[in-house]
């Protein structure tokens, strides 16, 4: 962002930033922003980013349009938040809505899965010349990890196309957990290998590997050598137990559900307790409902409803919700009109819903609105960069902080996104 001259004093920058983003000179609620060098007031220590891949229909979920023909007969139900309704397919989330801030005015221009998902994660459009880091990598880059040994950034059941650490070094990439039920795979030394054997072999691998790395300037070659050391350290760490969700009692495991997303969210909660900063959990279902919308939703919604509600309830009961920001995201919404031929809904980036809970976000709150049928934004549009800036804001990150890509281009955590401060009490 060349828009922020580096010689501008920080205070002047902050003032200018507040002006541009809020249209007023200084807002009372943003007192912390005023202090020179002080980060905004942060409530959230960790983020759980729930990603529903494929493009989640908004009107069938968190932005219902009761009585409209577009609903195809699906009803809206009341929730624990006054005046807030969700679709009948989310009975359990309905009982958690007093924790949730719905953002019903999300909007984007990217109607292709790959491009939308990229924007959701990086705040940038996908371009061929650079790969931007995902938000989780920014968070560990700027905040570090609370836990010395565990990586601060974990991706559970992530897609192979996750942008990862982008142009940041590989150690900021999320640690992928492919099967949350199995914990961190391969983290235990085979019984046939003694510790002395392991140490000797690891030392030999390092020594021989460095012969290769010395002749090979390619950064990934050196990264593999470094990763090996990190992995060896991690294997000896007590913290590995964190990855074992079977240590939870049966009732807790059952509450989250035995499907991948359920296990992933339970693991995410354990990681939050261990001080991991940013955990993304991707649902294993594909929400790209081009065909048979209602039937597909009937099949897919129960498991996410169960898991997301269980996660909020569990975090709340453990007193973790205040310091944990939970975000539900997707790449776009779906067309309000049911396709007459396929009975499905098409891609619809014009308006869709994400939600936040905990981490200082207001509960039982709705920000922004879509129009009567959920086709356009009616009020307070919020972009993906804005929402990512909001997450950064909740964590107390300096959204004006500049990092340079290897080619010297300056970037900030959420590009030109501005935090939606109205979401915070």
């Amino acid at each position: 962002m060349k828009s922020i001259p580096t010689d501008l004093s920080r205070r002047a920058f902050v003032e200018r930033f507040v002006k541009t983003c809020l249209g007023v000179s200084l807002l009372p609620g943003l007192g912390a922003l005023r202090g020179a060098g002080a980060p905004p007031r942060a409530r959230a220590k960790s983020v759980i980013f729930l990603y529903l891949r494929g493009g989640l229909s908004h009107i069938d979920t968190f932005d219902p349009k009761p009585g409209r023909p577009e609903m195809g007969g699906v009803r809206a139900i009341g929730t624990t938040a006054d005046g807030v309704q969700v679709s009948e397919w989310f009975p359990r989330m309905a009982r958690q809505m007093h924790h949730v801030s719905l953002v019903r005015s999300m909007t984007s221009t990217q109607g292709i899965h790959e491009l939308g998902a990229y924007s959701a994660h990086t705040s940038h459009f996908m371009t061929p010349t650079i790969r931007h880091p995902a938000l989780g990598s920014w968070v560990v880059k700027l905040l570090g990890s609370e836990n010395r040994l565990l990586p601060g950034n974990v991706l559970i059941n992530g897609s192979p196309q996750h942008p990862g650490s982008g142009y940041f070094p590989a150690h900021l990439a999320p640690l992928p957990i492919v099967d949350p039920g199995a914990g961190l795979q391969n983290s235990v030394r085979p019984t046939a290998v003694s510790e002395a054997d392991f140490n000797r072999r690891a030392a030999l691998a390092r020594a021989l590997g460095s012969h290769f790395v010395q002749q090979t300037p390619h950064r990934d070659a050196a990264a593999y050598l470094k990763i090996q050391q990190e992995a060896a350290t991690l294997m000896k760490s007590e913290d590995l137990k964190v990855f074992d969700i079977t240590r939870e009692d049966a009732a807790t495991q059952a509450a989250y559900g035995a499907h991948t997303f359920g296990k992933g969210c339970l693991l995410a909660r354990r990681l939050v307790e261990a001080g991991v900063r940013f955990i993304e959990v991707e649902d294993d279902q594909n929400w790209d409902t081009h065909n048979d919308q209602l039937k597909s939703m009937r099949l897919m919604t129960p498991s996410v409803d169960q898991t997301m509600a269980a996660l909020l309830e569990d975090l709340h009961r453990r007193g973790l919700l205040a310091s944990t920001l939970v975000v539900m995201a997707t790449e776009f919404g779906r067309t309000p009109q049911l396709n007459t031929v396929t009975a499905g809904r098409g891609h619809h980036p014009g308006v869709f819903t994400w939600w936040l809970a905990g981490g200082g976000a207001k509960g039982g709150y709705v920000h922004g609105q879509s129009d009567a049928i959920g086709e356009h934004v009616a009020e307070n549009p919020v972009t993906m960069p804005d929402l990512n800036a909001t997450i950064a804001f909740a964590l107390g990150l300096d959204i004006g902080h500049i990092e340079h890509s290897p080619s010297g281009r300056p970037f900030t955590v959420a590009d030109k996104g501005q935090p939606v401060t109205a979401l915070f009490a």
Binding site: H113, P128, Q161, S165, N186, P190, S407
Partner: protein, 776 residues
């Protein structure tokens, strides 16, 4: 995913002080990249009424003051800071500001008088390739390789650069196995080649590998990533593996690329009659996505932005996109009717009448519907033309009106007898198509060299970047000359001195053109890593096939063929059988579950006699269930057949080439960990390092099996002469396909001096060396 994001688009190279930029070579590409998406004749209403795509338009726009760069609005506007509201191009939708190099090109050109050198206007519609290309025989390969090298030498002479030093036999050996067969050579294969002293040993190896089954496997992975072959994505109840097998057969038989694409685009019928129908079943209900994916993969042209609006960065309009999509949009499986009709199930009217006469209950209706559901997916054309969307903003009158198919570039496609797909396929694969062969040549080049001559490979436009134009044109002609025989074309590349040079070991700068010094060093794909481990574990790896899914399975094509021929009566009888089968299956599953519970209780209670009885009952239960009558129904799950080949009897069934393992894979599978594409989208693989890779290599099953005392590798080592350095040399040859250096020998000697297991130590260390994971 682009692990090496290099962009070879001609970002005008910095010019020497004395050089005056030429309009068409240097200036036009800048205008094309940054201006034409809003200021050209392509837009219904060019922004500000300005058109920069013709001499007349430029003159009329009056944004250039020849000789006075600082007074030229064009240069002023593109030089404003990005925050300025008047900056050009407007930085939205992913648009990038001009680079300093691009600005200096404009400045120098304007300063020198802004001469157009006779240029009149830009041809948005790229011309067809006109010159006929004579057929080439496979015997032409050596001569063509020499000609490619001559072009490369010319490039280096002009640039004052050089090709890297020639690669040794060892480096060539490992590289060519990885590129062609998708795996490292086995110890025997290495030893055989390294003992060959014939002058043409490399050319012979190239030919042998291209003719081998390893080539089929590796090429399948490469194509599967492009075609997004993911059985789960095929419509319900379809034997999706038939499409995978069709692709493998095409590769194995060496059917030309153009013919293959024609068969895909014109595919008709049921999947069990024509595997190519999977091309459309893959994208059920998504005609527009199908069209944009097809364009990326076969034409190297990204059009998906234009699905919803004019392309923000290219002079490609939404209308262009819809006109192209209109060729394939009428395929029944793309705009899928969700119900049954006599269009897709021939017997449907009779079945319906029969069910009504019988006053069939809901259960039977559902049962019939389920039994014939595979028939529903008949790939055929319907009469419904594609219409402009209700949101079409460029011409309100066109909304909801049918779109006439029209190609984006090259020739027009002439539709004969209403067969749109035939016309589209002929146009697409014609040697006159300016992008079809070029795209294929560029992708094949990338496959073996590590990066395309144009990057990204799907960024072909009406303006070919000048950097490697001559070389790419030559290669394109060669591919056409070989009549799209991919093997012959690859043979040319693999026989070049460029390919047989030392690798470029740096990661190229993003945006830098391919330097033509040598192939790029790169991490192996997930499939190559898996397959290379298996080379150490599975004798004759390429010959081992997955025990599959066919016989007795729900997906048996023979059973589905019979279904197509059944009368309505027979289908209803069949449906009843299937319903009875499912009821029995449910009871059977329940009994099995109860037995398992009882068995666990008996075992926990230490009641061995009871446990034995229950195990026997369990076996009996299974045997009873799979009675001959039930098996005749061909409903059973796809149990893999036990291995009968003595070479592989001690190995797990799933130790086969990655190409033989059906997707989707379980979450924790090695291939997924190392970034295999899930094939939901094009080339969605990932080759970035991650801690989990180190864990898998150190503690995973594959490493443990390679190290096991009875592994094929250990047996080979055991039978070798026992001297330490000789053993170490064998291990190096088996794993890294080279000899150890003196330094490495002494490192190993020092670090294993007191070890009781020096062989295991060395194997373990090399499997865990980054070198194993890279192609150099």
């Amino acid at each position: 995913m682009r692990s090496i994001p290099i962009l070879l688009i001609a970002l005008a190279a910095p010019l020497g002080a004395a050089e005056v930029p030429r309009f068409e070579a240097d200036v036009l590409p800048v205008l094309y990249r940054h201006c034409f998406s809003c200021h050209s004749e392509k837009q219904a209403k060019p922004k500000g009424g300005l058109r920069f795509d013709s001499a007349e338009g430029l003159a009329h726009a009056a944004v250039i003051a020849p000789g006075k760069p600082d007074e030229s609005e064009l240069l002023q506007r593109v030089s404003l800071p990005p925050t300025h509201e008047d900056v050009m191009p407007p930085l939205k939708g992913g648009a990038q500001p001009l680079s300093d190099a691009e600005r200096s090109v404009l400045r120098a050109w304007i300063a020198a008088g802004a001469k157009l050198d006779g240029w009149v206007k830009f041809q948005h519609r790229e011309a067809p390739l006109d010159a006929p290309v004579a057929a080439l025989a496979r015997a032409a390969v050596p001569e063509l390789a020499r000609q490619v090298d001559a072009l490369i030498d010319g490039h280096h002479r002009a640039k004052g650069t050089t090709r890297n030093a020639p690669a040794s036999d060892e480096v060539f050996l490992r590289r060519v196995y990885l590129d062609v067969a998708g795996r490292i050579p086995s110890l025997e294969e290495s030893t055989r080649f390294l003992a060959d002293s014939r002058d043409d040993r490399r050319a012979r190896l190239v030919d042998a590998l291209l003719a081998g089954e390893g080539y089929v496997s590796h090429t399948y992975n490469w194509k599967a990533d492009q075609l997004r072959l993911n059985p789960r994505a095929l419509a319900g109840g379809q034997p999706a593996w038939l499409y995978d097998d069709w692709v493998k057969d095409v590769i194995r038989a060496g059917r030309p690329h153009d013919e293959t694409v024609r068969q895909l685009i014109t595919a008709k019928g049921y999947l069990w009659e024509n595997g190519a129908a999977g091309f459309y079943l893959r994208d059920l209900g998504m005609p527009l996505d199908h069209a944009s994916n097809l364009s990326r993969v076969f034409l190297g042209t990204r059009m998906e932005c234009a699905q919803c609006h004019d392309h923000p960065l290219e002079p490609v309009t939404q209308k262009d996109f819809f006109q192209m999509a209109a060729f394939t949009a009428g395929v029944s499986n793309l705009s899928s009717p969700s119900g049954y009709s006599n269009d897709n199930v021939e017997q449907w009217p009779e079945i319906k009448a029969l069910l009504a006469r019988m006053d069939a209950d809901k259960a039977l209706q559902d049962g019939v519907s389920r039994a014939i559901s595979p028939l529903k997916r008949l790939t055929t054309d319907n009469d419904k033309p594609l219409s402009f969307p209700a949101t079409y903003v460029y011409d309100a009158a066109a909304r909801g009106r049918p779109v006439s198919p029209r190609t984006l570039f090259g020739d027009e496609a002439l539709i004969v007898d209403g067969d749109r797909r035939r016309a589209f396929a002929e146009w697409m694969t014609s040697p006159r198509n300016p992008r079809f062969a070029k795209n294929a040549a560029n992708r094949l080049w990338k496959r073996v060299m590590g990066a395309g001559l144009i990057e990204p490979v799907d960024s072909l436009t009406a303006l070919t970047p000048p950097e490697h134009r001559e070389l790419l044109d030559f290669l394109t002609s060669a591919l056409i000359g070989f009549r799209f025989d991919e093997r012959a074309f690859l043979a040319v590349l693999l026989n070049t001195r460029l390919y047989q040079s030392e690798a470029v070991r740096e990661r190229p700068e993003p945006g830098a053109p391919f330097g033509l010094h040598g192939p790029l060093l790169r991490r192996l794909s997930a499939e190559q890593i898996w397959d290379s481990h298996l080379v150490l574990l599975v004798p004759d790896l390429d010959e081992r096939k997955s025990a599959m899914r066919h016989e007795g399975s729900l997906l048996n094509p023979a059973r589905l063929r019979r279904l197509t021929a059944m009368t309505a009566d027979e289908i209803i009888a069949r449906s009843r059988d299937e319903m009875a089968y499912r009821a029995r299956r449910r009871e059977h599953t329940l009994r099995l579950a109860e037995q398992k519970k009882a068995l666990a209780a008996a075992q926990a209670g230490g009641n061995t006699a009871e446990a034995r009885r229950l195990r026997a009952a369990h076996a009996q239960e299974n045997e009873n269930f799979f009675s001959p009558e039930l098996q005749a129904l061909e409903m059973g799950g796809a149990e893999p057949a036990p291995e009968t080949d003595p070479r592989w009897q001690s190995l797990p069934r799933e130790f086969v080439r990655a190409s033989e393992i059906p997707l989707p894979l379980p979450l924790g599978h090695f291939l997924r960990q190392f970034g295999q594409s899930d094939r939901r989208e094009i080339d969605a693989f990932n080759r970035d390092p991650n801690t989990t890779h180190a864990l898998a290599l150190m503690n995973g099953e594959l490493a443990a099996r390679v190290l096991a005392p009875d592994s094929p590798l250990r047996r080979q080592l055991a039978s070798a002469d026992g001297r330490r350095d000789r053993l170490t040399a064998l291990i190096y040859r088996a794993l890294l396909v080279r000899s150890p250096s003196d330094g490495e020998l002494s490192t190993i000697a020092a670090l294993t001096a007191t070890s009781l297991t020096p062989v295991e130590d060395t194997v373990w260390a090399l499997l865990n060396s980054p070198e194993f994971l890279f192609q150099r």
